[in-house]
């Protein structure tokens, strides 16, 4: 047992800290610190700065730009990035479609897509969920029927995050309706500028436009855009959803947001006094700090002990608890803002601090965290069934 990082890992941490605090455009980091939405251009600029330094897709095979980092190094990379107000690389590119193409795609698909995917020259959207296939993903109904050298795609996807920026979309489509539902699904790449693709915004409770519906009406997709084998898409989707254990708990950003909340509290009392003098506020912050420490240490236990490639059982705790704490901190911010939280729509002339104005939209926006990526109820089901052996 050992507390300190090895000299090598400590140097790595320092290197990452220096990179993220000096090489990422300042306006990107300022926008994250202000808890405001990033533009497409800002996200692209941030990813391209990382890719130029060779650290945008460390989880990929080395041949395609990956790094042979240990799980602990990848954890450090991810934490330092968040602590420096740097947005993680677009997950659809870096964590989802990239690794799937690298693992299952043809050589031609790899050469065609991987460099552009790493550099965010292509912005990928995710086309998995459908109106009747959320947590029960295998119930999806969008069809792809072979027609000569093409597939003809029809159906509807939904909850397509940032789909308004998408150049391409990776989809799960039903290619064989006659077999059991997991067996007839394929993994297909679709150019979103193809005739018949329509993206419609979904307005959310925070007032933002973050997710979309995507409709496919007789969309022609060249058969060469199929990843791997026809009807094996479910296996690739499981690989995609299961291969990213680092960063599943947003520890760094939650830690950073809580420290911002603490700073905000110092002058948020009546007449500019410190709310940290309020024993209930102070106790809540100290308690959250301890809970986040416990989560961070659990993440460290998982990455420090997962060298043999097997997932550590405690990793199931990370998504569940990570999103609960992420939500708790956004909720705290609303409470600290108090009546000023109502000024969410105020413009530049407002006397209300910006952090108070964004508090409630953020709080409302992050209700999503316990729903996406396998709802927290699904996580409890996994813990109960897989770890505790409770199978109803």
């Amino acid at each position: 047992m050992k507390l300190q990082l090895s000299d090598e890992d400590a140097a790595f941490r320092e290197e990452m800290h220096t990179f993220f605090t000096t090489q990422i455009p300042q306006d990107v980091r300022d926008t994250v610190a202000a808890r405001r939405e990033l533009s497409k251009e800002q996200i692209v600029a941030s990813v391209q700065a990382m890719n130029a330094a060779g650290i945008a897709v460390p989880n990929w095979p080395v041949e395609w730009g990956g790094k042979d980092w240990t799980p602990l190094q990848r954890h450090i990379w991810h934490e330092e990035m968040q602590l420096a107000n740097v947005p993680p690389p677009l997950p659809f590119n870096a964590s989802m479609v990239g690794p799937v193409i690298a693992a299952f795609g043809s050589q031609e698909l790899k050469e065609r897509f991987l460099p552009k995917t790493a550099n965010l020259d292509i912005w990928w959207s995710q086309g998995f969920s459908e109106p009747d296939a959320g947590s029960d993903l295998a119930s999806l109904r969008t069809t792809a029927v072979r027609d000569g050298d093409d597939y003809l795609v029809n159906g509807q996807k939904t909850w397509t995050t940032l789909g308004q920026y998408g150049d391409w979309i990776f989809t799960l489509v039903r290619t064989d309706p006659s077999v059991k539902k997991q067996a007839g699904i394929s993994f297909l790449l679709i150019d979103m500028s193809s005739p018949g693709v329509t993206v419609r915004p979904i307005e959310l409770i925070d007032g933002g436009h973050e997710v979309n519906e995507v409709w496919f009406e007789n969309v022609r997709v060249p058969a060469e855009n199929l990843v791997g084998e026809e009807n094996k898409g479910w296996d690739y989707a499981k690989f995609l959803l299961g291969n990213e254990r680092v960063g599943v708990a947003p520890v760094g950003s939650t830690k950073r947001t809580l420290s911002q909340a603490k700073e905000f509290a110092r002058t948020a009392g009546p007449g500019g006094t410190s709310l940290l003098e309020d024993p209930l506020v102070a106790a809540q912050i100290a308690d959250l700090e301890n809970e986040i420490l416990a989560l961070e240490l659990t993440a460290l236990r998982v990455v420090a002990n997962s060298a043999d490639g097997k997932p550590h059982p405690a990793s199931s705790v990370l998504k569940l608890r990570g999103t609960e704490l992420q939500q708790a901190v956004t909720e705290l911010f609303v409470d600290l803002a108090g009546p000023l939280a109502l000024a969410s729509g105020a413009g530049d002339g407002s006397d209300v601090p910006d952090l108070a104005r964004v508090a409630t939209p953020n709080y409302l926006n992050f209700r999503k965290a316990s729903i996406y990526g396998g709802s927290n109820e699904v996580q409890r089901q996994i813990i109960a069934g897989t770890i505790l052996g409770l199978r109803g």
């Binding site: 047992m1 050992k2 507390l3 300190q4 990082l5 602990l72 602590l83 830690k255 950073r256 809580l258 420290s259 603490k262 700073e263 110092r266 940290l276 024993p279 102070a282 106790a283 912050i285 100290a286 308690d287 700090e289 301890n290 809970e291 986040i292 420490l293 416990a294 989560l295 961070e296 240490l297 659990t298 460290l300 236990r301 420090a304 002990n305 059982p313 405690a314 705790v317 569940l320 608890r321 109820e377 996580q379 409890r380 089901q381 813990i383 109960a384 069934g385 770890i387 505790l388 052996g389 409770l390 199978r391 109803g392």
Partner: protein
Amino acid sequence: MDFQLDSEQEALRDAVRGLLAKAYDTSETRRAVTKQEPGWGDKTWQQLAEMGVLGLPFAEEDGGMGAGPAEVAIVAEEIGRVIAPEPFVEAVVLAGGLVAAAGTPEQRGEILGALAEGTLVPAFAHTEPASRYELAATGVTASGSGDAWTLNGVKEPVLGGARADLLIVSAVIDGGTGLFLVKPDADGLTRTGYPTFDGGRAAHVGFANTPATPLGEPGADQSDVIAATVARAQIAYGHESLGAMETALRTTTEYLKTRKQFGVPLMTFQALTFRAADMYVSLELARSTVTWATLVLLDGGDATEAASRAKLQVSKAGRHIGQEAIQLHGGIGMTAEYSVGHYTSRLTAIDHALGDGRHHLNRLVSTLGDHTVVDPLP
């Protein structure tokens, strides 16, 4: 950072686990032992001594094994796993730890040697009826000089105070809190023992001009020694709780698998399995924090804040897991014949020894403004 045990540590864990699994094969065996004086097994204590467990953290020249916080953690966790009533944390980590930290070379050799051999069981007489969790003595006062001192006042509850072969007493001195050794046959010493709700023993201990020998340098303020040693004991209690929580959770999941209601196993009901999943989450988060606190100790720094963080996490997890273990069992969980209630009792006792969650949260609040984020690498 590395949370794994090495092979020697695993061997120690397996040996202690094997010994305790035999000594406390069922909760009935434990109950039989805790019903009789002194409330724990003399034979088991002797076996622990023979295994080297009772001298584990002490220097070899003092008669100990020269091991460290990781080994103490391993033993405490095994104690907790079967809630063995032997006072490992109380006698070895706390009372023995004070002697190791403050005692003269002669005191260390004499007391720690005998403690390691299992022939002397010390107790720390510290808590006073009005002191709550304060580390400074207020109600017991010391006067004297050199080696000749007398004590007056009352300590209660003193865990293991009636059976103890030697009392280590904190008392008010000029400029702070001193530590004193009091022998069981000292004049003016009264000890009235009674059982505690977790099967343990405590005592009312009175001092009336009772002769006492200073532990270490006469007249020295030992506040720092007390704080550091109490932190070690708090962390060890954390590990004892981890063992207890793990068993409580396992017992509960086994019950959900086997117990039938409405013609089906209880695990058919999602409401119950989700609550068990949340118990697992609490356990793993507590395990991370407590193990980290032991790493901080190993690193040699000031572990008092880490101890508070561990104790707070354990307080919350222990209450959650203990309460849910009983609830998910239903009525059987309320009975003395069944084990989970005893685990909940022990977790409650540990919670209120050396500071409960609220106390430690308060301590953390007092340093809230000193940092922007909590960094696990101090």
